[in-house]
């Protein structure tokens, strides 16, 4: 009986793999393949030289920054510095912000943690700028390049600072918060891109989103404290711009989250609560929204679905007796829940800004 079953099993497998091999027969014709390759290789490639070479040189020369900062502050006073804060790529004061003010802030930051936090916030700000430009229809190739170059620079500086952080817990929190923010903003940009009817700008949006997603997708899922670290400040900011969303429970959940993190069942419950809370936030927005807000809501729902799926998978993994695997999936679930939260609130803020309100970072 057993032998018959083994033979049947082998026959089944053979049939299955025969089918799989047949699927692998699907291919392009040789003509399609050749023409496609020729077309791709005919696309223009980027020049290694750009008008941003000076910026890059400045980024590598701390003395130049210092001198320029001193000159600007002496000549122009603090007015220019504060006026530059709301500037976007293409504005006259944008170079002051990114080449002088921010590097000076970084120089003045005393600890590696403070430096890493600053670089992380600069990187997030670059993406918010891209979002703002995109929603205004002003994101062109040169601005995309400028933002992506700066984003790469912030990430490098962030990694250097994090490498100098002694406490591994702190560096994990910093890393995870950075990645959650990158991924959430990548998703927001993608969402803006899908709404965009201008194909040219859409390409630029995709380039920034892809870069952000790449920067946010390497390494592990967030650790225990990232949820609290990410959600509480975001929730607090949102109350200012979206009063119809109740944020108190989110802050409360985030606090509870840290206290109870050692127990997996409680952790599952709290992730569940956070997912429900974000879903409740979505429901409280109402139906009278713009197409962009609708897309943000759709994307948030999808990310929440992923969080729920990982939570379900974690339970399944628990049932299989794989505690370590379940733990990793819980982290994945946390990451998606945090991403959904940042995405929803950043999207709503952008939407408010797009109606002529002041920029909110």
């Amino acid at each position: 009986m057993k032998i018959v079953r083994i033979v049947n099993n082998d026959m089944d497998k053979d049939k299955f793999f025969k089918g799989i091999n047949k699927i692998r027969n699907i291919a392009m014709t040789s003509a399609e393949k050749r023409v496609m390759k020729e077309r791709i290789l005919a696309t223009p490639i980027k020049s290694p030289w750009s008008i941003y070479s000076f910026n890059i040189w400045l980024q590598h020369n701390r003395w130049a920054y210092g001198t320029l900062a001193a000159v600007i502050i002496l000549v122009g006073g603090g007015g220019i510095v504060s006026a530059s804060q709301g500037s976007l790529p293409g504005d006259a004061l944008y170079a002051v912000k990114t080449n002088i003010v921010e590097p000076t802030q970084e120089l003045l930051a005393a600890t590696p943690i403070a430096k890493a936090e600053l670089q992380s916030s600069f990187a997030t700000e670059r993406l918010q700028e891209a979002e703002q430009l995109a929603s205004q229809g002003n994101l062109d190739t040169s601005k995309e390049k400028q933002i992506n170059d700066l984003l790469d620079g912030h990430t490098k500086a962030f990694n250097v600072a994090v490498a100098k952080v002694d406490q591994s817990d702190s560096s994990e929190v910093l890393n995870n918060k950075f990645k959650v923010n990158m991924r959430a903003h990548a998703r927001l940009l993608e969402t803006i891109g899908t709404q965009d009817k201008n194909e040219k700008q859409k390409d630029e949006i995709v380039k920034v989103a892809e870069n952000a997603r790449t920067l946010g997708s390497t390494g592990d899922a967030p650790g225990v404290t990232v949820m609290a670290a990410t959600i509480a400040p975001v929730a607090a900011k949102v109350s200012a711009v979206a009063p119809n969303i109740s944020v108190a429970p989110a802050i409360e959940s985030a606090d509870k989250y840290v206290k109870n993190s050692s127990k997996d069942n409680k952790k599952k419950k709290l992730i569940r609560n956070l997912i429900d809370q974000t879903r409740a936030d979505v429901m409280s927005i109402g139906t009278d929204t713009t197409p962009l807000a609708k897309s943000v809501i759709d994307s948030t729902q999808q990310t929440l679905d992923q969080a729920e799926q990982s939570l379900k998978d974690a339970n399944w993994q628990d049932d299989q007796g794989d505690a370590e695997g379940a733990k990793n999936l819980l982290k994945q679930s946390e990451q998606s829940a945090a991403e959904a939260d940042v995405l929803l609130h950043a999207g709503l803020r952008l939407e408010k800004g797009g109606r002529g309100h002041s920029k909110d970072n």
Binding site: F17, K46, Q195
Partner: protein
Amino acid sequence: MNLKSAQNQFEKIYDTESDAIFRFCLMRVSNREQALDITQETFTRLWQTISDGKEITNNRAFIFTIAHRLIIDWYRKKKAVSLEGMENEETGEPYEPTDEHAKENAEMGAEGRFVLDSIKKLSSVYRQAVYLRFVEGLSPPEIGKILEISTNAASVRVNRGIEELRKITGYAINEDSADSKQ
């Protein structure tokens, strides 16, 4: 990197992987022309990345990831213009005019069609993980990277997908055999 060596690197990847990407796209968009377009766009981005001097650590995961995102984007766009809502974004089944598949059906034969149809019947969460594991022979870390989930989550999806696939096909398939018959 000079242009010549960038081109050599690109051509090497293109020659080995273009059919797999085309297949992956065709399976999900169910339209040959569209699958060709997405394949071309995927490799255009690969070419730009290589010619830009950027380093890619895992070519397969990189191009599958790009293709995966372009397909999602395609569904979103399609959803936005669709009047009848015939497909549901990424998770749902696209509408599938059968005559467009005449060529692929001939290439696959009945056995291939049966297995592919069975994979397509899987829940959307498991479908791509199972396809990438068995048809393209990708590892769970690569699948995780492409679908933007952890390696662990990718393994779970493959295993749970196999459970479903066993019920649909009646075949005794297991995960261990995914690599053995590549």
